[in-house]
Symmetry: none
Subunit: 270 residues, 2 copies
DNA sequence: CAGTGGTCTAGACCACCGA
DNA sequence: CGGTGGTCTAGACCACTGA
């Protein structure tokens, strides 16, 4: 039988050497899956600008040859990049580097519904953004000891539905991860900050942890939301993480839930 | 070449007919992926009790033979069930039907933390259980039109941490799905109602939808929780679903979040 | 050691796209 | 029609488990 795939580098001269595979054998799969290695290499090539936003990648069989792996392995690697909104597959056309609008990440972790259960998509209004020293709590949440620069950009924004303010949010992100963020233009039609993080800084939020409680409105917040001072508000304190559990954003959301409610879905449908 | 896999049912008598595959060819893949079909069939077998909680499933190659597909397809199907916490894979041992304990289902959808982020596991205290006619809202949430008997069992219980009541819950379940529930003994050491649903009725909650807002305490609730009347409470209205999006429980949770907060985790770590 | 899940390969055939 | 991504197969070899 010449069917011994995994040992055939010993069998004699073969034109297409599965280099990645050989390397993996040699290092005894120290830590990473082959398709993960390929994924990292593709990310590397992307960050080096080998393929720019909107560009078409080589077809999958060519990618397989380029990286010395099978098409299935390429598909696993590319598949995760598609899940991460970094690449986009188009059947019959090819695989492309994602552009901003393509990733409809919008409100993946933030859903609002009214009493009837109907989903609402608030528009956000940027009030301010400034560079600040982080508070104790923020240092802890964002693990700022990772960086030499421990300042954060502190953003204030409002959520509005039908012109009425229903909530406000105060995201803080490490300056070290988002250099120059305060100088970027915030497009009012950007659907969410997370899509901005992705398109401008290639940082993907893949997971969030949130603590939910009740707060009463301070005078300033009451003015912003048009409620009476001391009015009870839903308070959501949320940490957003990217790969390898690196926290990238800490935000406090305050919601007036008299007309809308915060929606959570957990578990997967079968 | 005898390598034409997909057409070999035309080649003559073959011992192992890939029935699922042939069927799929015949119906021209009307809508579903093969591995999704297999997944559905496994779910069907599970809901019929073919494999009970904790049971070991046949090895993957046997499953492949049973369903007339390849091991890769079985792995795709089983993999999604593992992701959904329905099955558990153990390398070198086998694949098993998830138990509450293994899947850490207890409080899977209900986490409480204090200000320092420390997790707390409240004890629950049953106040009452009674058979009632469902309200409009409950009929809607539980889709009671599915059943001829549209009554529900309405349960009242308290959550306590260190002896102090921090919340109360009012689960309602269809009498049609949980016959005789009011006569069952509720062990105070049952970790959650969901484990009871699972062990006594073989009903697995795999997904929840929740709407979160703020309410003020009615006099009765204020007495239960030891807060002043009108005190703001976190209100969680939650529908729990089993397989095939069948709702099995509708509950309203009221929490005093002055000392604890409701914890949500979404997305998966990579 | 045998049995099991975990990873990967090579290649077949499909559905879809646009010229 | 050719090119592309999408799905599936058969089988090899690996790492892990427990007797």
């Amino acid at each position: 039988m010449a069917e011994v795939h995994q040992g055939r580098e010993l069998g004699g001269p073969i034109s297409r050497l599965p280099l990645a595979h050989v390397a993996r054998r040699l290092q005894d799969m120290r830590n990473m899956l082959l398709y993960k290695e390929v994924k990292e290499k593709i990310i590397q090539a992307l960050s080096e600008g080998k393929w720019q936003a909107g560009d078409k990648l080589p077809v999958e069989s060519d990618l397989a040859d380029m990286y010395g792996v099978s098409k299935s392995t390429i598909r696993a690697a590319v598949g995760e990049l598609v899940d991460a909104n970094i690449l986009v597959r188009k059947q019959g056309k090819g695989t492309f580097v994602a552009t901003e609008k393509v990733s409809r990440n919008l409100y993946r972790f933030f859903h609002l519904v009214d009493a009837s259960g109907k989903r609402h998509y608030p528009v956000r209004q940027l009030l301010s953004i400034s560079r600040e020293a982080a508070t104790e709590k923020t240092i802890d949440a964002l693990q700022l000891y990772r960086y030499s620069d421990r300042d954060v950009f502190s953003i204030h924004m409002l959520f509005k539905i039908n012109g009425r303010a229903v909530g406000r949010s105060n995201p803080c992100v490490p300056v070290a991860l988002f250099p120059g963020l305060d100088a970027k233009e915030f497009q009012p039609d950007d659907v969410s900050l997370y899509s901005l993080y992705h398109t401008m800084y290639n940082i993907n939020v893949i997971r969030v942890e949130a603590n939910v409680g009740v707060s009463s409105a301070t005078p300033a917040v009451a003015r912003e939301l048009g409620v009476r001072p001391q009015a009870p508000l839903l308070r959501i304190e949320r940490i957003a993480y990217t790969y390898q559990d690196v926290p990238v954003e800490y935000r406090t959301i305050l919601l007036d839930t008299s007309e809308i409610q915060y929606r959570i879905e957990q578990g997967s449908s079968v």
